[in-house]
Amino acid sequence: MPKTQQLEDFVTQVRRDILRQVHKVNSGHPGGSLGCTEFFVALYQEILERKDGFDMDGKEEDLFFLSNGHISPVFYSVLARSGYFPVEELNTFRLINSRLQGHPTTHEGLPGIRIASGSLGQGMSVAIGAAQAKKLNNDDHIVYSLHGDGELQEGQIWEAAMYASGKKVDNLISTIDLNGQQIDGSTDDVLPLGSLRAKFEAFGWDVMEITEGNNITSVIEGLKEAKTRTGKGKPVCILMHTVMGNGVDFMMHTHAWHGKAPNDEQLEIGLAQNPETLGDY
C-alpha cells in the first residue's frame, strides 16, 4: 500500500477514535481535534525523531508540546497509536481514575505528555524553555508546539513570541491551528486576530503557511520545510489553515462542535463517513 494511503487510513482511524471518545462520556472537544488530525498524524508518524519508550527529559529526541490542551482526544489517539500507551486505554477518556484526563496532564503519568495544558496561552513559554534546555545540553533536536488561533488572544503568547525571537530560539517550530473558530463564535466575531503573518513577522519570527492543513501530504511537506528553516537565528511559525470538525460533514465550518459530543445517531453518521481502517479500540 502506498505510504500516503497508509497515513490517510491512520487519519481516518484517529477521527473514529475522536468521535468515539467524546461520544462515550458525552463531553470533550471534537471540533478542533478533527481539524488537527492530519497534523498530529504527520508529526508523530513522519516528522518527530523519537526514541523508543518515554522519559520526561526527552534528551536526544524531538519534543512536542500541545498548548491548546482541549484537543486532547486527537492527542491521546495519536499517542496511543504511536505506541506510547495501549490503544484500549482510549476507553477511559475522561472517566474517573483515568490517565486520560479531560485535558492532558503529567500528573497521572501518561506516557507522551510532558506538561499539563488546558488553561490557554502557556505552552509556547514551556516549549521555549525546553528548546533552551536542548541548546544547553548541546542537543540539536527540534521542539514543536501547537496553538489554537483563539488561544493567541492570551497575552502570554506574545510575551513568549517576543522572547523567542529576541533570544534567537531557532530550534522551535510553533504551529498555529488557523480554523477561525472559538467557543463563542468565529474569531472575527469574538476578537479579530488581524494579520497573524504580520504580527509574527513583526515579532521577529520566520513565518510560513500550510494552506491545506487537512491534506496529509501538504502537512508533511510543510513540516519538513519548517525544519529546514530552523537553526537560522529565528523561531519558525507555521500558520496552518484547517477546517474545524474536518472529516465529519455536519461538524465542519462551525464553532458548534468546539466542545460538544455527538449523540448516538450523530456518532453513527460520523463513523459511517470514516470507516474503520486500523481497527477500533
Partner: protein
C-alpha cells in the same frame, strides 16, 4: 536563656544571591531566570560566573514561569527571581498548571516580600503570597529568617526534587543564625526553651520573637521560641510538643493572618491539641508607603506586639 548575637545586619536577598552563586559552582544543572530585577535579587555573581546558564526574560513573569517549567524538561533546575508579588499573584495560573500540577522542579525565589519592602507601597507589598503558594498541592513554602539561613535554604532546595517557593526580603535585618548551617526542609528550629508560652515565628519576625522572649523573661515569663522556616510541610510535631508543655501559642509572620503561618498552626492545633492562640500578622489589609520599621510598628509586627500577645494568650489558658 540562650543569647543570640546579631553579627551585623544583612538583607536576606543577599543570602539568596550568595547561595545561588555557590550553586553556580557546585551544581551544573542549576540555571537562573530573572524578569528584569537582577540587582534587586542579587543575582549578579551567578550571572557573571555562569552567563550561559542565566536567562534574562524581561518584564514578562508569566513567560518566565512557563520557560522555567520547560527548562526542567532536559534536566535543568531553574531558579526564578523577581519580587514576591510578581512571583505569585501575577502568575498564579502559570505556576498552578505549568509548574505545580505538572510537578516541575522549579524554585520560585521571591524577594521584597511583605511590608518591609517599604516605600514602594502596597502595589508591591504582597501579604498574601504564603497563602497562595501553600494552597497549591505539592508546593513547598519556605520563609527563612536571616541572611545565613536564606543562603543555606537556597543551597538546600536545589537538592530537593519538586516545586519550591522561597520567600525573602529587602531590608537589612539581624543576622544571627549559624554561618554554613545545614538547612533541613520542614524541620523547625528551636531557638529558646520555655515553659509558659510558645512563640512560633517565620521570616523577619523570628528575630523579633527572640527580642520578645528577652522582654518576657524580664517580666518573669518563660517563652519557648521556634523558628518555622518551612510553612509547608509544617513541622507539626515540634509545634504540638511545645504547646503540650506551654499550653498556649503566639504565631508571628509578615503576612495576612488569612492564609498564613498562623492559620496552618491553628489547623494542626484544632485537630490534635486545641490551644489558645494569638496571631501576630496583618489584619486583612493592604500595606502602604513608609520605612520598614515604621510599617512593622504601625501594623503590629514587632517584638513589642509579640510580647503583648504572649501576655494576652497566657491569660487565656
Amino acid at each position: 536563656m540562650k543569647k543570640y548575637i546579631d553579627t551585623g545586619k544583612k538583607d536576606t536577598r543577599s543570602g539568596f544571591g550568595v547561595g545561588l552563586e555557590v550553586l553556580g559552582k557546585t551544581n551544573e544543572n542549576v540555571v537562573a531566570l530573572c524578569a528584569d530585577l537582577i540587582g534587586s535579587l542579587k543575582m549578579d555573581a551567578f550571572i557573571a560566573n555562569n552567563p550561559d546558564r542565566f536567562f534574562q526574560i524581561g518584564i514578562a513573569e508569566a513567560n518566565m514561569m512557563g520557560i522555567a517549567a520547560g527548562l526542567t524538561i532536559g534536566g535543568k533546575i531553574p531558579f526564578t527571581g523577581t519580587f514576591a508579588n510578581f512571583s505569585t499573584g501575577r502568575v498564579y495560573d502559570q505556576i498552578r498548571q505549568s509548574i505545580a500540577y505538572s510537578g516541575k522542579n522549579v524554585k520560585i525565589c521571591a524577594s521584597h516580600a511583605g511590608l518591609t519592602l517599604g516605600e514602594d507601597g502596597a502595589t508591591h507589598q504582597i501579604l498574601e503570597d504564603i497563602g497562595l503558594m501553600k494552597m497549591l498541592p505539592g508546593m513547598v513554602v519556605i520563609n527563612p529568617c536571616d541572611y545565613n539561613q536564606t543562603k543555606a535554604a537556597t543551597i538546600a532546595i536545589a537538592d530537593y526534587e519538586g516545586p519550591v517557593y522561597l520567600r525573602f526580603g529587602r531590608p537589612k535585618v539581624a543576622n544571627f543564625t549559624p554561618e554554613d548551617q545545614k538547612f533541613e526542609i520542614g524541620k523547625a528550629v528551636h531557638l529558646q526553651e520555655g515553659t509558659d508560652v510558645t512563640i512560633v515565628a517565620t521570616g523577619h519576625l523570628v528575630w523579633e520573637a527572640l527580642l520578645a522572649a528577652e522582654a518576657l523573661q524580664e517580666k518573669g515569663i518563660s517563652a519557648e521560641v521556634i523558628n518555622i522556616h518551612t510553612i509547608k510541610p509544617l513541622d507539626n510535631e515540634a509545634i504540638l510538643n511545645s504547646v503540650k508543655k506551654t499550653g498556649c501559642i503566639v504565631t508571628a509572620e509578615e503576612h495576612n493572618f488569612l492564609g498564613g503561618l498562623g492559620e496552618s498552626v491553628s489547623r494542626v492545633l484544632s485537630q490534635n491539641h486545641p490551644t489558645p492562640q494569638e496571631f501576630i500578622a496583618t489584619n486583612d489589609t493592604f500595606g502602604e508607603s513608609g520605612t520598614p520599621d515604621q510599617l512593622m510598628e504601625k501594623y503590629g509586627l514587632n517584638a513589642e506586639s509579640i510580647t503583648n500577645a504572649a501576655e494576652k494568650v497566657i491569660k487565656r489558658k
